[in-house]
Symmetry: C2
């Protein structure tokens, strides 16, 4: 690999911010109809071009009078005035109020000539001789004079004003139906890499294809930051095609982002195109993740190259690019851009460069706890497990437990989950979670679940298998599930029990060691080993695939269906759902355990209530499940 | 007027909320393309239908090996393996890794058959005999196995999830390109009242027409709350037309809002249509403002009638309707829906019904101050002077200064202004304000400005005229402006000075008593009275129009141009801008005075800096202005 691609001379994050600031993304201003102006930003000051109201108007329903005619009138001694006519709202007055007369008037109607005050209807009576006025009024009473609300020539709204419903209202009052607003920066997204396929297209896993995550993610981020995203057709690693696409994007957009591939060859192609058709201002930033970030110009446009891993791409976008788009659009930093919290755990870090640590949030009585999420695996699940990133200085060695940190949220719409659960994956649990508002559940397995609950980060852990290792916690409830061996429909190999795995030449697929189901399997293996008077290890060594572990509760069954295995560890419910055969080995309990400090948290209460009320519903159709 | 329209039997706000909850606004769910799914809400749970990744993939660039071949290798004693080929990302492997061999592999590429680990390139060297492996690896090292990120069959996202960029990312990874989301409730807006004209259309002020403020304001509020707003053509007060429009809206929408007119006849027409074509659940709510609110059904749709005054309409919408729309759309309450603060002043209230008090926000070192804004005048400027409403219980007699209150913001996008200024209106000041981010300036006149600054609510007051009444404050700077009498171009009446107003039959237009310009005029009148040895009151009585006051600094000149007056109080700059004649009477100073406790507030600093740096720019082209 070339020296360049190894990014030996890394720039500081501050230098990267400067480089992006130095690029001008600001589009031309534009004029939009008033009903499209919401959440846009005024490009220039709006002065009132007319008085509001445009005429002296009655503020109440009542009678327009000459104030001096009412002097001395009160409840006991009303003045009676001649009723000479009526003025309706939206109509030109056809009467003149002279001495001793009055005109009925509606709220908002034009004051008739001669009248200088309005008496509200509640202070009047119709009498034979006319209208009895039971109060005295001063000139101007209950009248809004022309321009009293907004005077023509006055400053109504300043440049840079974000238009919310109330500003739309003021513009309406001024009769403004076309609004000069800041343009939305157009952001072209070019995704690269031979291995990427757009969602909705056919995926060839055997050829190493994966769905393109970054294009739509970043496009959504662009729109959220106030830009207009343009997705270009996916490009492979071919230089000419990439050049054509990047140049086309540069012609059409204020900013071009390349994103997608983690492969060195795709990065290399882009690198060469930018060097040839534009200028690289910096290549490589001293941050983790995001080292391979590129900043430059491409023809007349700005260019930023994002890293390939989804969390890294979103992190770099959130940290460096979104603020530039927002600023070019004239939008303020949202109030919900960040959240303050305290570290839930101690987090070591000593790589000598800035770290953008993906972090999740947990709400507690003592405020928001922040825990690190991604370990740089490139997992897309980290995307939804993290709520944002904590920027850790290059010279920080560790973040102490309880230390105050600021989380830059991935979106102003992101909120801490109402419940953080960890542990076993289970179909009944999934249904119960569906009844909660905004829960987060990480299926890390029962063993990890217990460990994390003990460490105090999650609100609840859901565990299955033997209960003798359960931690000190508050049991919220649970259910049982029948487990065993999933085999092809009709059980063609005639599998009868665990012994067949040991004694026969069957390809097995196991669950991960952290799984409660795996612990149940191991317990049964112990029993078999005892019965045979051998060590469990001997049995395990005889099972082809005992160490071949997969993640989800359905995964072994799917391997069996796909023909990659003869037998998988799983649930009767899964076998039934996927039309497989099933050899029962036992029934295990699933326990929902709550952090003792969080039992009053609304999300935990909601889960307890779902367990109390909806467990039977959640078990419907799940064969082998029981409450 | 009928008893009904006086709403004698008012329902409680809680009853109003219940009534609205009882109406079902929830639309059908719909399916949208992934790139339109941002900020939508998942209608159902999304389970993974495939493993992510779909194959065992290399996590780094390096060499795919059989882990057992590397046992014992280290920097000092590498193992050398045969290099049998290369696997690129996005390509099917065409090699098999057998004992003693390795294959070069890119990040993200498919693990070739036989290999069970990857050695990162940094731990290898090309040597003559092949590839020197300088570390030992275990099976699974640097490999992400199929389904390790997301396992097929697992719960990916729950129903009710708000889709932000990260969720879009996870859906992309799962290949989901069409997303089942909650429908947006369709909200029809029918505006009523003969006096209303849509922005952009011609306005006939003489016939009492005003622009329709509520339709676009409420439409923007509907969209912000997650609904789809449909504006129906404006209707007058005619029963048949109104009935036709309301029924059409009910046929097409989940919710119909009527809004606009303050006139009793328009309200009456609507009332009768709803009673005939639907059902009124409640008419009149014991809140201020909003008493005339209606809630009911119209055919199969929900119906709410909003009050006519813009602030009242937005207040009732914000308090009762927006939450219902949001809930029907499945959207959570935004984190920025409310702000906590302390009352800046004591506010009395004792009307025995709930008050929704429009309130403005000021940021201080000690937190957010909240002050009441609208006094029920129906002014549209109150819309932008208020940031939200404080709900005050019916049995609360007053809010104490310093009392904690919650402000329900008019929009989640509303933020407290960076600067709250009050006082004189002035064209140079308008330009300086244009240089600040998000200032709020209320042109209440110099006298009111001084009073409010003394009461401690605003950050700065801008005052003109005599300085002997100025309050104790920190002077940030100022300028001078020439003032006098604005007359028609060419000065056809040959006006020469103040004495002409007293001695001749000229129609004069004055500024309001709170204006600094008016104080300057009064000082000159005192001087003239002294010179003549008479009382100022005698001079004033001789001026036709001394008490005819208008609001803006350009307003008198505009009256002169319109022919409604011969002479107006004003500035030389205004006379020049509007091509009028001008008779100078003096030069007055304009002073920018800061609240002594707020001089370090960023908005105040920004104003001081604008005064220091940009004052000369602000005065360019303003004749008679000097720094």
């Amino acid at each position: 690999m070339s020296d360049r691609r190894q990014f030996r001379d890394l720039d500081s994050p501050e230098r990267a911010r400067e480089a992006i600031r130095s690029l001008d993304l600001t589009p031309e201003t534009e004029t939009v109809p008033l009903d499209d102006a919401r959440h846009r930003v005024l490009a220039e000051r709006i002065d009132a071009r007319l008085d509001v109201p445009g005429f002296d108007r009655a503020s109440v329903d009542g009678y327009a009078v000459r104030a001096r005619d009412t002097f001395g009138a009160d409840e006991a001694d009303p003045v009676v005035l001649d009723h000479i006519g009526t003025v309706h709202a939206g109509a030109e007055p056809d009467v003149e109020v002279r001495e001793g007369t009055c005109a009925e008037i509606s709220t908002g109607a034009v004051m008739p000539p001669g009248a200088d005050a309005v008496v509200m209807v509640e202070r009047t009576d119709e009498v034979d001789a006319g209208i009895a006025i039971r109060t005295s009024v001063a000139p101007g009473d209950r009248v809004m004079v022309a321009g009293a609300d907004v005077a023509a020539g006055s400053r109504a709204l300043g440049p840079g004003t974000l238009l919310t419903p109330r500003e739309i209202g003021l513009l309406s009052a001024l009769g403004v139906d076309e609004v000069p607003v800041r343009g939305k920066p157009t952001v072209g997204i070019v995704s690269t890499g031979d291995e990427l396929v757009r969602p909705g297209e056919d995926l060839h896993s055997e050829a190493g294809q994966i769905y393109d995550v970054n294009s739509y993610t970043i496009a959504a981020g662009v729109e959220e930051a106030g830009g207009e995203a343009v997705l270009y057709p996916h490009a492979g690693d071919d230089y000419d095609e990439m050049e054509r696409l990047l140049v086309e994007a540069a012609d059409e957009c204020d900013l071009v982002l390349s994103s997608g591939s983690t492969s060195a060859s795709a990065v290399d192609v882009i690198y060469r195109v930018i060097e040839s058709e534009g200028e690289l201002l910096l290549h490589g930033v001293s941050v983790k993740p995001g080292k391979p970030m590129l900043v430059g110009r491409l023809e007349e446009s700005a260019y930023v190259g994002l890293p390939g891993y989804p969390v890294s791409a979103l992190t770099i976008f959130r940290t460096f690019v979104a603020p530039a788009i927002r600023s070019a659009a004239g939008l303020p930093v949202p109030r919900t851009a960040t959240v303050e919290g305290r570290m839930a755990v101690r987090e070591r870090y000593a790589e000598g460069r800035t770290r953008l640590m993906p972090a999740g949030l947990v709400e507690t009585d003592e405020g928001t706890l922040v825990y690190p999420v991604d370990k740089g695996s490139g997992a897309t699940t980290s995307l939804v497990e993290a709520d944002g990133v904590v920027e850790v200085d290059a010279d920080t060695d560790y973040l102490a437990e309880g230390e105050r940190v600021t989380v830059q949220l991935f979106s102003p719409d992101v909120r801490a989950p109402t419940l953080l659960g960890v542990g076993e994956d289970d179909p009944a649990l999934s249904r119960l979670l569906d009844r909660l508002e905004r829960p987060r559940y990480l299926d890390v397995g029962s063993r990890q679940g217990r460990r994390r609950l003990r460490d105090g980060v999650p609100d609840v852990a859901v565990v299955s298998g033997p209960s003798d290792r359960d931690v000190d916690a508050v049991a919220l409830g649970g259910w049982t599930r029948e487990w065993g061996l999933v085999v092809p429909a009709g059980n063609p190999d005639g599998v009868d029990g665990l012994a067949d795995l040991v004694d026969r030449d069957l390809r097995f697929v196991d669950r991960a060691a952290d799984s409660g189901l795996r612990a149940s399997l191991d317990t049964e293996l112990d029993r078999l080993a005892d019965a045979r008077g051998v060590d469990r290890r001997d049995l395990i060594d005889a099972i082809d695939g005992y160490d071949l572990t997969v993640k989800g509760f359905e995964s072994p069954a799917r391997k069996v269906i796909g023909g990659a295995a003869d037998v998988g560890l799983g649930l009767r419910a899964t076998a039934d759902t996927l039309d497989c055969g099933f050899v029962p080995l036992g029934t295990e309990s699933v326990r929902v355990l709550a952090n003792p400090d969080r039992t009053n948290k609304p999300g935990v209460e909601a889960l307890r209530s779902a367990l109390d009320t909806h467990l039977d519903d959640a078990l419907v159709g799940l064969s082998g499940f029981d409450s």
